[in-house]
């Protein structure tokens, strides 16, 4: 059902899934900076930026839309619960990005200096789960659909720009490095790239703890909001 409800938004989806992440990668490939980076580095960044662009740009907005009074009431005409709808939306978006990961991942592994395949997969799974939680959390927190549209686009841009997706962390000055480490996306890149043989930005386990802690906090909020059965109660 969720796939069918998305067909009218095909162009937006195409932009979020392909155009935005690819345009960043394309700019980097054209620049001289790309010469110093490996294909594996860029493609792993491309995977993470696709996840950010799709989940924050589209999924979070779908969740905010779902919380609109009329949408909640429309779903209430079916024999499904609010958590079931949220989970089905999340699964739909995971299935949308999955083919990109499946296509890109072999190239990432092929061009890696050394690759621990299982750890790379774990890193990608953690990244998907974290970004899903972040998107659902933001989607549930933002009430106004029009404001959410602007905020979520800005936030995806900030998360992509202020993380070493397409530039080298090592060449930055120390203040900027510390600033980037606040961004959870930097840690997601760290846990994906260390098993590919790249130099750690910070210990991989610190990144796992940082991302894990944020995920637990977001999950506790999501679980509280999603399980509230009186779905129209907060609207009025």
């Amino acid at each position: 059902m969720q796939f069918k409800t998305l067909r009218i938004y095909f162009l937006q989806l195409f932009i979020a899934v392909f155009v935005v992440p690819f345009s960043y990668a394309f700019v980097v490939l054209l620049s001289t900076a790309a010469q110093d980076m490996s294909i594996s580095y860029l493609l792993s960044g491309y995977v993470v930026s696709t996840l950010i662009s799709t989940f924050l740009g589209m999924l979070a907005l779908s969740i905010t839309n779902l919380r609109q009074k009329e949408v909640l009431e429309l779903y209430s005409t079916y024999a499904i619960t609010f958590p079931q709808v949220v989970i089905s939306i999340c699964l739909t978006y995971v299935l949308i990005v999955l083919p990109i990961i499946v296509v890109v991942l072999p190239f990432v592994l092929m061009h890696a200096v050394s690759a621990s395949v299982l750890m790379v997969l774990l890193g990608i799974i953690v990244s998907i789960f974290f970004l899903l939680c972040l998107s659902v959390y933001l989607g549930l927190s933002l009430k106004n659909l029009f404001i959410a549209n602007g905020i979520l686009q800005l936030l995806s841009w900030i998360l992509i720009l202020f993380s070493p997706i397409y530039y080298n962390f090592e060449t930055l000055n120390s203040t900027f490095k510390y600033a980037l480490l606040v961004n959870p996306v930097t840690h997601l890149l760290n846990i994906v790239r260390i098993p590919l043989g790249f130099a750690p930005m910070i210990s991989m386990w610190i990144s796992y703890v940082y991302v894990g802690s944020l995920t637990i906090l977001m999950l506790s909020y999501i679980s509280k909001r999603v399980r509230s059965t009186y779905i129209l109660e907060k609207i009025f």
């Binding site: 069918k4 409800t5 998305l6 209430s76 005409t77 079916y78 619960t81």
Partner: protein, 306 residues
Amino acid sequence: MGDVLTVSNLTKVYPNGKKANDGINLSVGEAEIVGIIGPNGAGKTTLIRQVLGLLKPTEGQITLFGKDVTKNPLAAKGQVGYEPQYPLFFPSLTLEEEIGFALRFKGYKGETYKKKLDEIIELLNLGDVRNYFGYQLSPGMLKLSLLAVALAQGGSFLILDEPTSMVDIVTKMHIWDTLAVLSEEQSILIASHDMNEVKRLCNRIYVLVDGKVVAEGSTEEISHMLKLPCTMKLMVSDVQGAKSFLEKRQSQFVMENSVLDISVDNLNAAIELITEINRAFSITYIELEAPSFDKAVIELMSDNHG
């Protein structure tokens, strides 16, 4: 026969302090059509949303199919078909898909799915627009599609919030006939503004004003609750003659174009007057309602509106 729905002492106060429902008691029996009628903001939709578990009651109890909905709002989820008040739609789904998903969620598959889908589409005369997307349908069609989803959702209880608003008169009559047939096996709760609708369909009616039930009973019972004049509209062959006759008789009447709108104290007086007028001036058209349900409801609403 047992009650499908029982609402006891239900009160709903919104966070802004507005009391939308105030100590409502209501019941719907098996194979019964019950109507809730009331002006805008009377609390009809709030009541329905609490029954469906979409809003939390402040006080009181709601029992649906013997299950306490106030304790477990999802207890009866899936057993109730619901048509919302507004023409809501999924812009990307065709009408057939919208109904189809409701059927699939209920477990319909293969041939039984196709059969049920066609049956619902045919029942509501939606065949011509079955492949139209939500954004391509008129508000009336959207209301019909929501009714179709409610029927697909099925169960033995339908809750319909203004089921025929925005629908043309021919379709409206068709829906009324359909609901009348469905009511042989299903219980139906209808919230409506349309007095003709509740008069025609409902076994019992609750008049809701400012969140309170101000009257309850059958159409006849509500009509007799207040002593109201009997009104009739007449057209005669000799309108000027009839006018002079009524003036001489000092009857209460208004003449609009060639229609005489006459009020008399009771039904017997009305029959006597009709006989006299018909004998002298030949009645060509007559419209009589005694006692008038519409007037009784309007009177009840105005008397109780704070």
